[in-house]
């Protein structure tokens, strides 16, 4: 690990939530509320082509109807006040020029923000193999490693840029995995999405580096609605990392992202997430981020593979089910997840594996850890269609409780219409054993060291799926989260 990373993590360990600072950049903000004018404003501000504005407007009418119809999502094991959609401002951008040709043009405040987050771009440039498309608020401020990627024909751009420069590819794919009618938050995102990333890997190309985007919520009261689209053409490979932090806020912040992945024949997409947003006041639960995200991948071609790995430690409320539609024959879907909740955090997360093609295979490994009065639910669906001959699924959902007042729940749904399918589900719930703790103490390890070791071991199967540099950070992050969880 580099020195700056070490310093960053040490710094993080020293406070409850160190990322509670606020970058002082004058922002232009859309008026509060969800109206057609706001949607048009956003599209106009982003200089979007007409087809995209029309797409947004369709989604807007749809979501407006759903909101006016009083729709709420009440089936999850979550207890929070629904966002007031008409009190949210749906767009803000740094006032200065939005896109920069080089780092020199980036305002110092922004650079400092990244510095404090431990991702100085200068150093990132020097680091091997990681290209960073940094999203601050709603507009991309810097993209590195562009040239190297261009050589291979890989497109890695902000969503807005891609919509302008590669309209045919974006138009062909966006909304095909997650239609704007999919669910309330996906519909909302489709109408007002701010920015996000677009990745296109051409046929036969292995992306030469891990692609990484750091998202960051800024500006009081501004929801952020990223939209990410990754397309891997036949035989392509790409690994994408998403990591996030947010500054401290009093009011709840809505984060409703949409991530769509499309893998064509023989292609593979690996998508890794570390989510560490402000979880709210540890004693009251007030003020944390609402992380309501729709993520889905489509294994479109034969022998394609999509793999989701996530470490979810932040947010007041997390609701997300990164899923895979296994359409191509022999396609593979994977979901590896660690969800850690403490204080008043609530998480309802899991996956959906939809087997359509023949000989499709899916693996689900979910680890939920709860402390304090937090609630942690796994919700997963394995669906095997009639023609999905020889479909295979293995699911393992383990929960660990770090105290007497927290909760762990498992809601597996299995629906199989193919007689030849094999679906296996294993679930365990354990308390960190006194025997395990005593064994560690007897070897000289204190309370916190012992707990870190045991919890890290519990998560090992998932953490090892993360790309190396991310795995180190993930382990440290877990350690930091565990500090003060010893009860």
């Amino acid at each position: 690990m580099s020195t700056s990373e070490t310093e960053y993590l040490k710094g993080k360990a020293s406070e409850d939530y160190k990322h509670g600072f606020y970058t002082d950049i004058e922002a232009e903000t859309a008026p509060d509320g969800l109206t057609e004018d706001v949607v048009r404003y956003i599209s106009h501000r982003k200089d979007e082509p007409e087809w995209l504005l029309n797409w947004r407007l369709k989604a807007f009418r749809h979501v407006r109807d759903r909101i006016d119809g009083g729709e709420s999502i009440d089936w999850a094991h979550l207890d929070y006040e629904a966002p007031k959609f008409d009190e949210i401002s749906y767009f803000s951008a740094p006032k200065e020029k939005a896109n920069y040709d080089s780092l020199d043009e980036v305002p110092d405040e922004i650079l400092e923000t990244f510095e404090r987050l431990g991702i100085p771009l200068e150093e990132q440039k020097a680091l091997t193999g990681v290209a960073v498309d940094a999203v601050m608020d709603s507009v991309s401020v810097a993209t590195t490693f562009k040239e190297k990627l261009e050589e291979k024909g890989v497109i890695f751009k902000s969503f807005g840029e891609a919509a302008r420069e590669h309209p045919e590819i974006v138009r062909e794919h966006m909304g095909t995995v997650i239609p704007y009618t999919d669910n309330l938050y996906a519909a909302l995102n489709s109408a007002v999405f701010s920015d996000g990333s677009f990745v296109y890997v051409p046929e036969g190309v292995t992306c030469p580096m891990e692609l990484s985007t750091y998202f960051r919520i800024n500006e009081a009261g501004t929801g952020q609605f990223e939209r990410t689209l990754i397309v891997a053409e036949p035989g392509a490979y790409v690994s994408y990392l998403e990591g996030c932090t947010a500054p401290m806020r009093k009011e709840n912040q809505l984060h409703a992202a949409v991530v769509e992945l499309i893998a064509h024949e023989d292609a593979e997409i690996k998508y890794s997430t570390i989510q560490n947003w402000y979880p709210g006041d540890p004693d009251t639960g007030e003020g944390g981020v609402y992380n309501l995200v729709t993520k889905r991948g489509l294994c479109k071609g034969d022998n394609s593979k999509i793999s989701w790995t996530q470490l979810e430690t932040g947010s007041a409320v997390t609701q997300k089910y990164p899923s895979v539609i296994l359409a191509g024959d022999n396609s593979v879907g994977e979901f590896y997840s660690v969800a850690f909740t403490k204080g008043h955090q609530q998480a309802d997360t899991g996956t959906k594996m939809q087997h359509i093609g023949k000989n499709t295979k899916s693996t689900i490994i979910s680890k939920g850890i709860s402390a304090d009065v937090a609630d942690n639910s796994y919700r997963g669906q394995v669906k095997v269609s009639k023609n999905a001959e020889n479909a295979r699924n293995f699911s393992q959902c383990d929960s660990m409780l770090l105290g007497p007042d927290c909760g762990a729940h498992t809601y597996p749904y299995i629906e199989s219409s193919a007689p030849s399918a094999q679906v296996e589900h294993e679930a365990t719930t354990s308390k960190v054993g006194e025997d395990q703790m005593f064994y560690c103490h007897q070897r000289g390890l204190g309370e916190e060291e012992a707990l870190k070791l045991i919890v890290n071991g519990f998560c090992q199967e998932v953490l090892q799926e993360l790309p190396m540099e991310f795995a180190v950070e993930a382990k440290e992050l877990l350690d930091i989260e565990l500090e003060g969880s010893v009860g």
């Binding site: 054993g433 006194e434 025997d435 395990q436 005593f438 064994y439 560690c440 103490h441 007897q442 070897r443 000289g444 390890l445 204190g446 060291e449 070791l453 045991i454 890290n456 071991g457 519990f458 998560c459 090992q460 199967e461």
Partner: protein, 257 residues
């Protein structure tokens, strides 16, 4: 000054009206190898647990001095740091925690407490290889998760391996021989013999005389009903093997009458 001095130790189970130890007296010097034998339920393993600092036991009376210090004042991890090691009767599994990782944390934690410098990764790995070699332990064991999927014999040998790595001054072996076949027993005993030295005391708790043929004790104590009913030299173990425990019980009863 003795390494370990137990005086009139009475122990019960926390929050329950059960007494297990009823006045244990025992003194052990560095370099000593003492065996504690006795029937099931006589309190042998409880004594080991109390020495290591297990919370569910409550000391009702008496005291324990370790190296002149009041042992009962120390937390379990502090005892470990001060050089008290317990080879567990039932070693605990830590899924996903590699032996290497676990031992590195442990070794460096006790080294720090003992004012020694932390070992570098290279030094640590070398030490691990050497000690595994010395004990004839398969090096692959160190790559696996702590005790996970280990056979009974592997678990017990792994305890001795940890003993070798942590370099304690007082090593307590709680029925390390139980459940082992003759080959595994010999290998564990060989390991223990290699680790005997003048600066280290051993307390070996066992049901059977068999292991004492390989690890020859300086003293043998017989525990009955939570007390040391009799102490003697290695011949005592032989007598127990031949005649069982009842004759001691009879003699004690006769003496009390």
């Amino acid at each position: 000054m003795a390494l370990l001095e137990i005086n009139n130790l009475h122990v019960g189970v926390e929050d329950e009206d059960i007494k297990i130890l009823n006045g244990v007296d025992l003194t052990l010097d560095t370099g000593d190898m003492h065996a504690i034998m006795g029937p099931n339920g006589s309190g042998k393993s409880t004594l080991a647990s109390v020495l290591a600092g297990r919370e569910e036991y409550e000391v009702l009376e008496g005291d324990i001095h370790y190296d002149g210090e009041d042992l009962l004042e120390l937390e379990p991890e502090e005892r470990a740091e001060e050089g008290v090691f317990l080879a567990f009767q039932y070693p605990v599994e830590l899924p996903g925690v590699s032996m290497t990782n676990f031992l590195k944390e442990s070794v460096n934690s006790v080294r720090e407490a003992r004012g020694q410098e932390e070992l570098s990764s290279a030094e640590f790995l070398q030490q691990m290889r050497e000690r595994a070699d010395m004990l004839g332990l398969d090096a692959d064991l160190t790559k696996r998760s702590v005790n996970e999927g280990f056979s009974g014999g592997e678990k017990k040998r792994n305890e001795i391996f940890q003993l070798a790595m942590l370099e304690p001054r007082l090593a307590i072996l709680d029925e390390t021989d139980s459940g082992l076949d003759i080959d595994a027993l010999q290998s564990v005993a060989n390991g223990v013999n290699k680790l005997r030295d003048g600066d280290r005391g051993f307390l070996v708790i066992t049901h059977y005389e068999r292991i004492l043929q390989y690890i020859v004790p300086d003293r043998v104590h017989v525990m009955m009903d939570g007390q040391i009913a009799r102490s003697g030299d290695k011949e005592l173990a032989q007598q127990l093997e031949e005649h069982g425990y009842e004759w001691i019980r009879d003699e004690v009863a006769a003496a009390a009458a």
